[in-house]
């Protein structure tokens, strides 16, 4: 046995040890990160993503009709803060809006105007009927007032009250967001842009 043989043996032992160690480490890593692909990559539908984006950026049209409009304005200000739900950007042009809050009674002469504004809004669009008057005519059961705005435009969410407070309207917007999310990626959502 020479000194060289002894050195070769030591080297071989060392190399085999390293190999074993590397194998252990790789096995451990395989075990630790076996679910990595599921943790780091989200699989979803494009429609769901679009719906998520839409529900968090509802831009209402500036369309105040009566006393409900005061509550609608209060909803947008800092105290109730519709910005928390992405619905604070009231647009003066219906062409930049995708949500119409019908806030107040609609007279017979206002109905065609309301319909025109609704038609001018780009798709997809949603309608919240705010208050008793917009929903069913309220106390105005007479010749002058349309008995429910759903006879003119399709309504997604009805908010009861006379007038409903800002928090009630916020709840209506949250309900509308739920509706958008439930519809997202389905045929109903496709119909809205058809």
């Amino acid at each position: 046995m020479g000194l060289i043989d002894q050195a070769v043996d030591l080297l071989e032992t060392g190399v085999s040890n390293v190999k074993e160690n590397v194998k252990d480490v790789l096995d451990q890593a395989d075990y630790d990160y076996s679910g990595a692909i599921y943790d780091s990559i989200l699989t979803t539908k494009v429609g769901k993503v679009i719906g998520w984006a839409q529900k968090n950026a509802l831009w209402p049209a500036t369309f105040g009709l009566a006393c409900c409009a005061i509550e609608m304005m209060a909803m947008a200000n800092s105290r109730w803060d519709a910005a928390r739900f992405g619905a604070e950007v009231f647009r003066a042009s219906p062409r930049q809006a995708d949500l119409m809050i019908v806030s107040g009674r609609v007279s017979q002469k206002m109905a065609p105007v309301l319909k025109t504004i609704f038609d001018q809004m780009p798709e997809p669009k949603w309608v919240i009927s705010m208050g008793a008057c917009a929903s069913c005519g309220g106390i105005f059961n007479n010749y002058a007032i349309v008995q429910g705005v759903d006879r003119v435009v399709p309504v997604d969410v009805y908010v009861p009250g006379c007038p409903p407070g800002p928090e009630a309207l916020l709840y209506g917007i949250i309900k509308l967001q739920e509706k958008i999310m439930n519809e997202a990626g389905t045929k109903q959502a496709a119909k809205r842009v058809a």
Binding site: Q108, N141, N142, A144, Q147
Partner: protein, 176 residues
């Protein structure tokens, strides 16, 4: 002039043209036939002592189901800015032919109230330059301020009387 003086002056000047006159709660009121209203209005406006240069308002009334003839009445409220006195002219109109001449040639401001009369009561304003509906939509049928116009557009189904309510729900007509 006081209301009594106004009524007395009109009686002496135009006694034959007016039907009757009174001072009601301090207001001078004259009753005029529809065929004489334009002459009387012209006299009231141009007479230097009366000088009714301002037409405050024109309204209508419907005395359906009341012991009063004729059924309709047009009420003119005149005021003199210079003299600071007022008068009310009541013009009765028949149910069959509610026609009245315009006074918009004397007071320009009569155009809109007269359109409102046409819209709300269906009175025919002779000589009006633009007789069309003012408040209701153009294609509307009926005159809403007539007493025989339906008060509600929909039946109210709420009632404390349960049987009445059920009947109403069953027979509820199709709404517009």
């Amino acid at each position: 002039m006081t209301s009594e003086e106004i009524v007395e002056k009109i009686k002496t000047d135009q006694g034959k043209a007016i039907n009757s006159s009174e001072v009601n709660l301090g207001d001078s009121v004259i009753f005029v036939g529809a065929e004489r209203i334009h002459d009387i209005a012209e006299y009231l406006k141009n007479d230097p002592d009366l000088d009714f240069d301002y037409l405050s308002n024109i309204t209508g009334t419907d005395y359906l189901n009341e012991e009063r003839e004729p059924r309709f009445e047009v009420v003119y409220e005149l005021h003199s800015i210079e003299k600071n006195h007022s008068i009310r002219i009541r013009v009765g109109l028949d149910e069959e032919d509610p026609t009245i001449p315009t006074v918009s040639d004397l007071w320009k401001g009569a155009l809109y109230p007269e359109r409102e009369l046409f819209d709300m009561f269906g009175f025919d304003i002779k000589g009006h330059s633009n007789l069309s509906r003012l408040i209701m939509p153009e294609e509307w049928e009926g005159n809403p301020l007539r007493k025989d116009y339906p008060l509600t557009i929909e039946d109210v189904t709420f009632s404390h009387n349960r049987e009445f309510k059920q009947d109403l729900v069953k027979s509820k007509p199709r709404t517009r």
